[in-house]
């Protein structure tokens, strides 16, 4: 039977390093995914990922037993917003930068080869659209972006997002609405393009 998050964090505070490792493995993928989408940059996301769990390590004693996932995402959001504020710069996308290699299907923007896709021109078009989407998401204000990523990509409910962001559900909906209205103007029409 799996240990609960609470028991793992308690064990970690008690000096059990395996418990901390278990927490990192259990929530690592979703936190890293969240941070990658927040930053649009895998390397920066990994840095923020380390920072997030460092804070978990340091602040573990302040966890009061509410939902660990929300607590963890709250930390990750603060770290991400801090990180974005500090590292505010023109987004640079490397041709070899990968956005998601965990599933073994690395989609590198510049590494489009004939072997990867049956139609190279379609593949190139998709890469271009993906970049357009990324740019549209990146250009959202940090709070709107966090709301969108948590609600849309992480598929959390609005009350859960509100708990993470420390605001009301109404505020979350307003942020989400604003984000979507902006995106509606900027997102490409992907009809006919294979995903």
């Amino acid at each position: 039977m799996l240990d609960s998050d609470k028991s793992l964090i308690d064990a970690h505070i008690g000096g059990d390093r395996r418990a901390f490792g278990e927490l990192v493995r259990r929530h690592g993928d979703s936190i890293l995914g969240y941070l990658v989408r927040m930053t649009g940059n895998r390397e920066q996301a990994e840095d923020l990922f380390q920072e997030t769990f460092q804070r978990v390590h340091e602040k573990g004693h302040t966890f009061r037993g509410e939902r660990f996932k929300s607590w963890l995402f709250t930390i990750a959001t603060r770290v991400a917003i801090d990180g974005l504020r500090k590292g505010r710069r023109q987004p640079v996308v490397s041709l070899n930068q990968s956005f998601g290699c965990g599933d073994g299907n690395c989609d590198e923007l510049g590494a489009v080869t004939a072997a990867d896709c049956c139609d190279p021109s379609q593949e190139a078009e998709m890469a271009e659209q993906k970049e357009q989407v990324r740019r549209a998401v990146d250009e959202l204000p940090a709070k709107q972006r966090a709301t969108l990523v948590l609600a849309y990509y992480q598929q959390l409910s609005y009350p859960e997002v509100a708990e993470i962001l420390g605001c009301s559900t109404g505020t979350v909906k307003v942020q989400m609405s604003r984000a979507l209205r902006t995106l509606a103007q900027r997102l490409p029409d992907v009809s006919g393009v294979a995903k």
Binding site: F20, V56, G102, D107, K130, R181, P188
Partner: protein
């Protein structure tokens, strides 16, 4: 039929952002309105592009390891900016701090059990967590195959399965520092008890924020050496400032290990305090050693040894320590997995360490009640061992008494030499590093000397002067330059100058002459003590003679020296006439000298015949 839905209403409907009542109305409208349905589909197509970024993101094992390693270090302390407090609050805080300090000072024992995690320098070494269960092996076929002999797989693991197995070690059992004075070099030997499991073990050593030379690391079991094999030291890719030893152990449990390495940033210097007796005929001398630690590492209860002498270094340790990677990477950063180091290089370094170990291996016995600095001679060096153990925190210095000697016979000497010191008389204290002077047991290392005299009836000290001394070997004399003396004056005056004995060449031009100077030197001793004065006079030429009847010593080819003793509060004058020879007269002087030598030799031969 109501109006068409706006884009915002369509978005709110699609993403359930509106109130239930509004959602219901929008739903009803959409069921009836084809235009709005088309608009909604258009929006959905557009938002479906968001799914292009939906690919799963997985955390690599390497990233997990890094996170866990990072968390295994000390917790960071956030330093908050101090707010300006009202005076009463500051006073209350001060009282509280003092109270807490007193409580801590009164209960030192309570600190013993504290986790070393919170302590910066102890972050240095982590070792595999104790797993006292034997490694899984084929028990039924124990020893039957080479692969699983004694339950340990022959093939070592490529890397630790996870950093989660690494834990902080207990404190050092003891540590010995050997600090070389001539180079920024310290040999550190520390003993720690590692808990090993039977099988393959990874020991991790980190040197972040220290000046440890990673190329010099060496690890050796002090017990059960036949059952423990240190296989290799690797420096994992991308993980900076750490190395991992692979250890094969046939035993499980605690084993004492010695870890040896060079570090930079520790230094020591000697300085001395001399107190002259009222008659200035003897001196009491105290030698001190100050050890400074800027290595980034705290050494608790360290046995400290100091080396006097030159050491030949191929590399600057500090530079090695600051390298991004332990062995450097030609051609830029190459991402590689745990790569074994060059074994031959390591063996060479271990050889150096071993020879240093042999050379510095002096027995240590802690017996005397007071701490002393013991001294031992080595082939090229001299070793000073500070008795007992000293804690030298990072960025701190510590002063230790090196030696103390009473009744050292000294000669006070005043010197006058215009070419060296202008018209000032310089005071010196002279003694020898030998048994006659209650010294001579060891050489005296370079250092600053300060001399004090006893002034007044109460014997209070007054600063007489200071200087730096070079290394003083045993049985060598030393003169301490204490600077200008104001109570002993030397004033030379030129009384007469004339030329004579001109020589002319064929064109009747002057080709040689003598210069004759008469000097009078006034010497005044206004001190209440008798003094010795040494006056050196230079003539700018090796061709000179001094008038008969003057008591002098030829110091070198161009200098004469007068040595005088003056009673307290007396004056004296010395007169001399010096003739210097110039041009063709120098040849006459040489000829005269050769003639004199020849005459002397002939006289000696005649005397011998007789």
């Amino acid at each position: 039929m109501m109006r068409h839905l706006t884009e915002q209403e369509l978005i709110e409907f699609r993403f359930k952002l509106g109130a239930d009542a509004e959602m219901g109305l929008a739903s009803e409208h959409l069921a009836e309105c084809g235009h709005c349905r088309a608009e909604l589909e258009k929006l959905e197509r557009r938002f479906s592009s968001l799914d292009l970024l939906r690919g799963d993101v997985a955390v690599s094992e390497d990233l997990v390891s890094r996170v866990i390693e990072q968390a295994s270090g000390p917790r960071r302390v956030k330093v908050a900016a101090a707010r300006k407090l009202p005076a009463w609050a500051a006073a209350a805080a001060a009282v509280l701090v003092v109270g807490v300090l007193i409580m801590v000072a009164n209960h030192p024992g309570q600190r013993k059990g504290r986790e070393p995690v919170a302590k910066g320098p102890e972050k240095g070494i982590v070792a595999p967590e104790a797993e006292l269960t034997s490694a899984p092996g084929d028990k039924s076929g124990l020893g039957a195959t080479a692969v699983m002999a004694k339950g340990i797989p022959d093939k070592p693991p490529f890397a630790p399965a996870s950093a989660i197995e690494l834990v902080t070690l207990p404190r050092r059992d003891n540590v010995q520092l050997t600090i070389y004075n001539s180079a920024d070099l310290t040999l550190v030997r520390e003993k720690r008890s590692l808990t090993l499991k039977k099988g393959w073990n990874w020991l991790q050593f980190m040197w972040a924020n220290t000046l440890i030379d990673p190329t010099s690391l060496s690890l050796e079991p002090k017990e059960q050496g036949d059952k423990i094999d240190i296989q290799q030291l690797v420096f994992p890719a991308r993980l900076r400032e750490l190395g991992r030893w692979l250890i094969r152990s046939e035993v499980s449990g605690q084993v004492p290990f010695e870890i040896t390495y060079f570090t930079s940033g520790l230094s020591w210097r000697a300085f001395y305090m001399g107190t002259l007796a009222p008659d200035e005929k003897t001196m009491r001398m105290q030698g001190y050693v100050r050890v400074d630690n800027a290595s980034g590492e705290e050494y608790e209860n360290a046995q400290t040894r100091l080396i006097v002498g030159q050491v030949h270094l191929l590399d600057e340790i500090a530079e090695l320590a600051r390298r991004q990677y332990a062995y450097g990477r030609p051609g830029g950063e190459i991402l590689m997995e745990d790569a074994p180091v060059d074994e031959s290089h390591l063996m060479k370094l271990n050889g150096v360490l071993a020879s240093a170990e042999v050379e510095l291996n002096a027995a240590v016995e802690w017996a005397a009640e007071r701490k002393e600095i013991r001294k031992e001679g080595l082939s090229e060096y001299f070793l000073y061992t500070i008795e007992g153990a000293e804690t030298i925190p990072d960025q701190w210095g510590k002063r230790l008494l090196s030696f103390e000697a009473d009744d050292i016979k000294v000669d006070s000497l005043y010197k006058y030499d215009e070419e060296r010191w202008g018209d000032q008389t310089i005071r010196f204290v002279k003694f020898a590093n030998d048994k006659d002077h209650n010294l001579g047991e060891t050489p005296i290392p370079d250092g600053e000397v300060r001399i004090y005299g006893q002034a007044g009836a109460d014997g209070s000290l007054s600063y007489v002067g200071g200087t730096s001394v070079k290394y003083i070997p045993v049985n060598e004399e030393v003169e301490l330059d204490l600077g200008p003396a104001r109570l002993v004056k030397v004033e030379p005056q030129l009384m007469e100058f004339k030329t004579a004995n001109y020589r002319f060449d064929r064109q009747r031009n002057i080709s040689g002459w003598d210069e004759i100077r008469t000097w009078k030197i006034e010497i005044a001793n206004t001190r209440a003590l008798a003094v010795e004065i040494e006056i050196t006079r230079g003539f700018d030429t090796p061709y000179w003679t001094l008038s008969e009847g003057v008591d002098y010593k030829k110091h070198d080819a161009t200098h004469a020296r007068f040595e005088l003793k003056l009673a307290p509060q007396t004056k004296r004058s010395v007169e001399y006439k010096v003739t210097t020879y110039h041009g063709a007269r120098t040849q006459d002087k040489v000829q005269n000298t050769e003639d004199r030598i020849q005459n002397t030799e002939e006289a000696i031969q005649k005397a011998a015949v007789k």
